[in-house]
Every structure is written in C-alpha cells, then in structure tokens.
Symmetry: C2
Subunit: 225 residues, 2 copies
C-alpha cells in the first residue's frame, strides 16, 4: 500500500510516518519507483504499536526506540527482554542512590507480607517503592505507607490478569508485543479506574450519593460484588 493508505489505516499523518522512519522506529517501505514506496501489513502493526506507546503512554521517542530494539534482539532470552522492556516503559524513575535502610526494609516487608518469595531483595522496583516510602515519611505522611499491603494485594490481582494474557500466547514476538502494549495500556487503564473508583468510594464515604439516588446504603450493599 502507499503511504496515504498506511496513514488512513493507522490514523498517523504521513509526515509523522516519515519522521518515525527517520528516527528508526519503523523500517522504510519497499521502493518500487522514483516516487512510489510500498508498505505492508507489518508496517500497519508496528505503527499502531508505536502510536500506543507515544500517544497513550507518553513514552519519549528515545525510549520507544530502546523498547523496539529489545523486541528485535533475537538472542536475548524472553525473561530478560521482558525485564528491560518493563524498565524502559516505567513512568517513574528507579532512584539513583540507595534508599534509606529503614525504607528499604519496609518495602521488603510489604513484599514478604504478600508471600512474594521470588523477588531479588535488591530489585530495582523495590528501590522505587522504598524511595516513595521515604518521601511519605519526609513529608510527615508516614500513615500513608501501606503497611497493610492493600496496594500489593491489588497489584497481585492485576499481575495475575496480565500474566494470564501472556500465557495464552506462544510466539516470542506475540508475547513481547502483548507485554509492551499490556504494560502501557494497563498503566493507563489502571490509572483511569483508580480515579473513577476514588469518585465512587468518595461518594459513599461522604454520603453524597443520597441526593442523587435512593440512598448511600444501596451503594454500600454493592461494594463486594
């Protein structure tokens, strides 16, 4: 197909497609004549993947390139590829300095509390977690540290759903693509649902539901569905 059709099918303007080719996010099409370049189905799929990262995930171009390079590296094993891609797609930085010992211990206690025994005690995301805990403490908001593990319980529900989707897939490329999209769109979906749930729970807590509906009690009775 010509660039016009590729643009129409993906919703990406032709100028942006050319920019992605220059930036190495997309292979160039096959040149047929002086002013005709032919693109295939693999370009449609790749462009949608890039668009999901850039538009939904607000992933910077340099990181998109990094993730795509990981996907295309045939020799790397699946597990470490997933790890590298997961880190590249993180919105939140792993802190450069080791967090305070007490914060790291608290982060490890949350993980142990869930019975997560496969986690390296120096895993990068444990540092991210410890860093966030340290900031809450600094801000005098130590009561916001989720020592009860409710966040971890919720994260496990999400991770089990995520992994069940990967387990349905067999080809390496399929698994990696699903993982990248699942990470980016999953973060967006969870963020939206967390905000929506806050509105809902807030209306129960502050009993504002009563004015609009037959009563807050009705809401409360549906919590555990």
């Amino acid at each position: 197909m010509r660039i016009g059709e590729l643009s129409a099918r993906t919703g990406v303007p032709a100028a942006t497609i050319k920019y992605y080719v220059r930036e190495g996010l997309l292979s160039g099409g096959e040149r047929r004549s002086h002013n005709q370049v032919e693109y295939g189905e693999e370009h449609v799929r790749r462009l949608r993947l890039v668009r999901a990262m850039v538009e939904v995930g607000s992933v910077p171009i340099a990181k998109v390139r990094e993730v795509l390079a990981e996907i295309e590296e045939p020799d790397r094993d699946l597990d470490s590829t997933l790890g590298v891609a997961s880190r590249a797609l993180s919105q939140h930085r792993v802190p450069a300095e080791e967090p305070a010992a007490e914060d790291l211990e608290l982060a490890r206690a949350i993980v142990r509390g869930r019975g997560w025994h496969s986690i390296d005690p120096d895993h990068g995301y444990l540092w991210t977690l410890a860093d966030a805990i340290g900031r809450l403490r600094e801000l005098g908001l130590a009561d916001m540290v989720d020592v009860t593990g409710e966040y971890a319980r919720a994260a496990e529900i999400v991770a089990e759903f995520d992994l069940s989707l990967l387990a349905n897939r067999k080809e390496r490329d399929e698994i990696l693509e699903a993982m990248v999209i699942g990470t980016v769109l999953g973060d967006a979906i969870f963020e939206a649902l967390r905000r929506i749930a806050q509105v809902e729970v807030s209306s129960r807590v502050f009993q504002r539901g009563q004015r609009k509906q037959s009563g807050a009690e009705q809401n409360l009775s549906t919590v555990d569905r």
Copy 2:
C-alpha cells in the same frame, strides 16, 4: 533559615529553589537585609511537595503550578478541587475526540459491573478507559480488554485505602496535600508493585522458582495470604 539550610533540609539545590520562586511554585522568603533572605517551615513543606511531584511523579512545571493554584484557591469546594488536581496529575491524556460508541459502552459496562453507580456516564476517565479499549481492539488484542473487571476490582481496593487516608484528615489544606501526594506517590507505588508482582507471578507460571527454592508449589500455597 537561610537558603543554604533550606537546601540542606529538602535536598533541593539553592539554584533550583531560586528557579521555583521565579516560576511561582514557591513564595519568596522574607528579605532581612541586602543579601539575606529568611525562609520558614512552610517553605520546607512546600518544597518537599513540589519535589515529590517533579521528581517522583515527573509532573511538568506548568502542571505543578496548576495543582498548587488549585490548592490555594480558598473559594472552590473540596470535591471539585480534588477533581481538578486529580486531572492535572494524570500521566495519561483524556482523549480529545469522543471514543467509539462500542468502546464507551464496554467501559461503562466495566464500571456498572463493579456496582459503581455514582459515576457520570461521560466522566473524563471513562473516555480514557474507552480509548485504551479501542486501541487494544485496533491492535487485534481484544482479549486483553478486562471484561471480567479484575482491574476494576483492584482499583477499588486501592481507592478504598486512599479514601480511608483522606477521611483521617480534617483541615482542607491537609486533605488536599494528602490527595496530591497520595495520587503522585500512589501511582509510583502501584506501578512498582505491579512490576514486582509480575516478576513473582511470572516465576510461578513459568515454574522458574523451582531452581532457587524448595518448589513452585510453596509459592502457590502463599498466593492468597
């Protein structure tokens, strides 16, 4: 205190403090003499709040200014202030165009499925959710749409924890500050825990735990703790 002490107590370099004052994120200190400016405890607290948004949440300066303006607007009611701040702190954009009807219907069905009856059917985050659903469909990954509502169930657990923390607070400023910090650090904490949980669940699914430990069964037996 002098700017040097303010810098030491918050970990923010003096040049950055001056930049934040110029950008209106922090009120200037009290000028005592030609070259001495005095800062107080309110500057320490505000700087930590700004730092949490900028460093942990990667919130752009213009958005930080928007959130702070909301916090300082005394006439606005708490509920709408929380809404504006929540939107400003979103990492993911609300789509500019109305999503496809089928995607929006699916998003509403997920919300109804949880018994969330207080949500406006045109809530901005329902659009974000529908947009993500549409992209999964476009990418041929419709099976990734969480029709079973596992993400929503997890989001409700997190939102109930979040709201319980706000309910502990009485002063308007306290509630808003906790909400801003809880949103930014809560996103970071959940993101880290989701990635950690993926490693854990992945090691169970792919049985890699067996090499390091006494058996994957041991992990499985602790799932529901």
